[in-house]
Symmetry: C2
Subunit: 237 residues, 2 copies
């Protein structure tokens, strides 16, 4: 799907209170470097939003002022829960996704897209703590860091958005452009520990991490059950 470099690309990210900020800022670091493109943040209002840990992000425009986006980027974070029945946001996502060249979900952005009824039958992923919920939205779990299904790209949790954005960049403008961006952002990661997945973390670390999201996970499950009913999706229970 390489897009001619003379075609200007409109790239837009949804932001909201309680977002996990690197779900947006990681991909922004990559996608804002795409030649001949505009990369902006869109909010339900022009108010600054606060991320899960207090970082302030300011929208460039409100949802209703967005052009048709070529790349629709939906991030996640704990605040995703409050959007799951928000018809203004879900309707915007549906309308944009219908014409976008790429829809790019990071972390629990997949659940928001799911609540919009858009991931039925899709191969998808999300953060480890929410991945079991994907079937409630009709999606097929793929436990990989970046999952492509047609013109949809899904990533696992949080920092996986950087890897996913490089894949999106390559799909839009070719591998050499994506590699040049990778060098510009010096993306040759060297995590000091090997604790970034459920499979590699120590039992002690996994247990602490699971405890810290227990309440959120319970709430997400209840929401997923309710949305599944609204969407008419049957899940084993």
């Amino acid at each position: 799907m390489i897009i001619d470099e003379n075609v200007h690309l409109q790239i837009g990210s949804l932001i909201f209170d309680g977002i996990d900020q690197i779900d947006v800022t990681g991909p922004f670091e990559v996608l804002s470097r795409l030649p001949n493109s505009t990369c902006r943040l869109f909010g339900a209002s022009m108010s600054t939003v606060c991320d899960m840990h207090g970082l302030k992000l300011t929208p460039d425009a409100i949802l209703s002022d967005s052009p048709q986006l070529d790349v629709l980027h939906i991030p996640g974070g704990a605040g995703q829960e409050s959007l799951m029945d928000n018809e203004e946001v879900l309707g915007w996502i549906r309308a944009q996704a219908a014409e976008a060249k790429i829809v790019f979900s990071v972390c629990t952005g997949a659940l928001i897209c799911g609540a919009a009824g858009l991931i039925k039958g899709r191969r998808a992923t999300t953060i480890w703590s929410a991945i079991d919920l994907l079937p409630y939205f009709g999606a097929i779990i793929v436990n990989e860091r970046v999952v492509r299904d047609g013109n949809w790209f899904f990533t696992a949790g949080v920092t996986a958005g950087i890897d996913g954005a490089l894949a999106v960049a390559a799909a839009l403008r070719g591998q050499e452009v994506a590699e040049t961006i990778q060098l510009a952002i010096a993306y040759a990661p060297e995590p000091p520990f090997n604790s970034g997945t459920v499979e590699t973390a120590s039992p002690a670390v996994l247990s602490v991490a699971q405890m810290s999201v227990r309440e959120l996970s319970a709430s997400r499950l209840k929401t997923a059950e309710r949305v599944a009913e609204r969407l008419g999706i049957k899940t084993k229970s």
Copy 2:
């Protein structure tokens, strides 16, 4: 230097116009999850700043309202150039660094710290496009992604701040805490290409990346020469 978990940690990042946003938001993602800590952004004024590619970051407070920081975090980006003779900012960095438990430089934050006269004799690193300038500030080049020199942590460019922040987290609160953060942010990177360093990028990619920073690099060299003279540092020329 593990700090007792009952001791509250004040963590502060400098922000400025023309910052490279992930130099701040990458470390924020890690450090804001440290138990018993406060993580805030400080600006010369309360105005929102624009990153190199237009992302807006809003300070939590102005420099003069900052408490003594336990972690002083200095990011970089093209806008670093405009701070190299800014005595308000350089003086703040000197005062904070004198008492901070850790000074944490990301990318060309090292040049700002250098302009403050703080990296003489230190083993240091910065982004590949500026690493040759470190001797102008009296530092010793170490071409590694994360370099520790006593209570100073330096990282290579841009996304290296995430790796560095995990090292800082481990130094402050122990490895298990850092590993739990790594799992929470799903940091198990899988770059789709191997182009993140000068050594691994293809000649074509390296050439494009070098061209794109040629003007900035020329300006940084001139500034480094001027600062070296001010600091009384002799460099081979």
